[in-house]
């Protein structure tokens, strides 16, 4: 109890906004105090139970965690009630990073998850142009259609020409036959 109080007062005497280094030093101070007490082998302290020591060890195990206060309330015949108060501050850079990631995730998530189930992309207006969903697009272009129509026109004309020639040949043949018949 006495130690805890001592530690509390010790902490309180310092500015809360002091640097991490200094806090670490303070914690070391407190732990040193503690280790000193364990090493000193005083009977009343040893008999007072392991809970207090354990809590103090935990504090020591996270030296970067800035500790504000440890309150140990001691009551006779009961276990000690230990309250540790700590304040954590993120640096400006760390806060910026956190918010950056938050924004980036939100934007990406908005785009990604927003486009996952969009009826527009399954609609005729979007798929009708030839999107097959694979990213390979086959456009049905007006120009291609027109070019094909002209090709068909060319073929039609060719067929007509051939037919005309064939008809001419047939007429010739018939003429020859008739001549033969006349003979």
């Amino acid at each position: 109890m006495a130690e805890a109080v001592m530690g509390f007062t010790l902490f309180k005497s310092h500015n809360l906004g002091s640097s991490l280094q200094r806090r670490r030093f303070q914690m070391n101070h407190s732990s040193r105090l503690h280790s000193n007490s364990t090493l000193s082998n005083r009977p009343w302290q040893v008999s007072e139970g392991k809970s207090k020591r354990a809590s103090l060890c935990k504090v020591n195990g996270l030296p970067d965690w800035p500790l504000m206060a440890i309150i140990v309330e001691h009551m006779e015949g009961q276990r000690d009630l230990i309250t540790s108060k700590s304040v954590s501050h993120l640096s400006d850079q760390a806060i910026k990073n956190v918010y950056t990631w938050y924004i980036m995730f939100t934007v990406w998530g908005g785009l990604f998850f927003g486009s996952m189930k969009d009826p527009y992309y399954d609609s005729e207006a979007y798929r009708g142009d030839g999107g097959d969903g694979t990213g390979n697009w086959i456009y049905e272009k007006q120009e291609t259609m027109e070019a094909e129509a002209r090709e068909a026109l060319w073929r039609e004309e060719l067929i007509e020409e051939i037919e005309e020639k064939v008809e001419g040949l047939r007429e010739l043949e018939e003429g020859v036959k008739k001549e033969k018949l006349v003979k």
Binding site: E143, E146, A149, R150, E151, L153, W154, E156
Partner: protein, 465 residues
């Protein structure tokens, strides 16, 4: 292809008989010309070139002295027309497996061989103007097709002019771009340059009068031959630098030339080359697809006429864009009152009025007859199909008279003056075309009586057919 094997031979190694005799009379000067032109041969060269052809632009290629008279053609170079299929034969024994072309065929210099031979595989025509101007370019397209077998011809035309190519079987792709637009939308401009550049044309023909700006547009297509009309005035300054062949038109308006408005370009396209004679200019022909015929048949049957039993009347005055006039003849539409007078004389066949806009329907009904046969047609393809099924055409100077002569239909053409008629319908008799022109030079003063007598002879035509 074959040009990669081309090896230089000194002139003495082969007999003179095998040598191709150049058309230039003094070939020995040209022999030296390739070496010493820039220093002391320039004046002589200028003389020779002038004697040979028109003046060459020395800025384009200072080392270009024309054809090499020493070049032997015939054995390795294919003389005459180019081969239709440029694809080299497959070589299954090619050690490189996946490369099917014969060894020795260098892809990288294939286009060089094309240049040496003067072959054209892909050709682009940038046509300015509307339906009429595009229609009159058809013979040139046919000429290119005949002169360069296997060529793929694409067209860049205005929105209105593009519709004409529905009737042309020789064209592959058509794109809409208005070459007459002096300040085009930057995005459209850049897009069109990209499209044309990506197609790797061998030749670009352009009928818009080019200044430096339009010449730059053509230059940026990176076509090998950029053949263009230029302004006949100072606006052409600098255009020649970016073009490989320029034509100076007779006037600022190319359409003033009438039917032969592209005569300079056509002359150049059909020029004799090596042992090829001059390519004759084919007549204007249009082809009409079956689909188009069906559509138009449904249209005129709905208007209440039968196939071969009607006369197409085209050229009703209207503020519509679809009047299909020539730019060279602004006075070429008649008001409906005059048309009604003319149509009254037609007896044996039904007059079928072609209106360029629906709002004209009422006017026709008012002036002629309540149940007059009227079809609403704006595209040249449909007009051609209509004329194809008709007994004949009566039209002012619109695309209809050219279509009638293209489909060999009898035609009565009304012109504002005699010379205009001769310009736009040069072979009137051959085309079964009767030209009736106004005496005063204004179409509105046209002699209706003369038309009526012409129509009388025309009435007999379907009986004879």
């Amino acid at each position: 292809m074959a040009a990669t094997y081309y090896n230089l031979q000194s002139p003495k190694t082969f007999p003179t008989l095998l040598r191709n005799l150049p058309s230039i009379p003094s070939s020995h000067v040209s022999l030296l010309g390739s070496l010493d032109y820039p220093f002391h041969c320039s004046t002589r060269r200028g003389y020779h070139v002038e004697a040979n052809a028109k003046k060459k632009n020395p800025w384009l290629d200072p080392f270009d002295d024309g054809d090499d008279p020493e070049m032997e053609t015939g054995s390795l170079f294919a003389n005459g027309l180019q081969e239709e299929d440029p694809r080299p034969p497959d070589d299954p024994d090619n050690p490189y497996g996946f490369l099917k072309f014969p060894s020795g065929y260098a892809v990288e210099v294939a286009s060089l061989a094309l240049k040496v031979r003067g072959d054209v595989r892909r050709c682009c025509c940038v046509i300015s103007g509307g339906v009429y101007e595009n229609l009159l370019f058809f013979p040139a397209i046919q000429l290119i097709k005949n002169r360069y077998p296997g060529v793929q011809i694409d067209v860049v035309a205005t929105e209105r002019g593009k519709q004409t190519y529905e009737m042309n079987k020789n064209v592959r792709w058509t794109n809409v771009y208005d070459p007459d637009d002096d300040d085009p939308e930057p995005a459209e401009y850049a897009d069109m340059i990209g499209i044309l550049k990506n197609r790797y044309y061998d030749m670009v023909l352009n009928t818009r009068l080019a200044g430096l700006g339009h010449a730059a547009f053509l230059f940026m297509t990176t076509a090998r031959d950029r053949v263009s009309y230029v302004y006949p005035n100072v606006n052409a300054a600098g255009a020649g630098l970016l073009l490989s062949e320029t034509f100076v038109p007779d006037s600022l308006n190319l359409s003033d030339g009438g039917y032969h408005m592209y005569h300079q370009m056509v002359e150049w396209l059909g020029r004799p080359f090596r042992d090829l004679p001059r390519q004759p200019v084919p007549p204007l022909r249009v082809s009409i697809s079956r689909k188009l015929k069906e559509v138009v048949e449904a249209k005129y049957e709905k208007a209440g006429v039968k196939k071969g039993k009607y006369v197409v009347i085209h050229g009703i005055k209207s503020d519509s864009q679809a009047s299909m006039q020539s730019r060279g003849d602004p006075d070429s539409l008649l008001p409906i009152e005059v048309w009604a007078e003319i149509a009254d004389v037609i007896r044996d066949v039904t007059p079928l009025f072609v209106i360029p806009h629906e709002k004209e329907r009422e006017n026709v009904q008012e002036n002629f007859d309540e149940d007059a046969s009227i079809v609403f047609i704006t595209t040249p393809g449909q007009l051609a199909a209509l004329i194809n099924d008709s007994a004949g055409v009566i039209a002012t100077n619109t695309a209809a008279i050219q279509l009638a002569s293209a489909r060999e239909k009898p035609c009565i053409a009304l012109f504002c003056s005699e010379e205009m008629g001769n310009k736009f319908v040069p072979q009137a008799e051959e085309n079964k075309c009767v030209i009736i022109s106004s005496k005063t030079g204004k179409l509105i003063d046209i002699d209706v009586e003369a038309i009526k007598t012409a129509v009388q002879t025309f009435n007999l035509a379907p009986v004879l057919v």
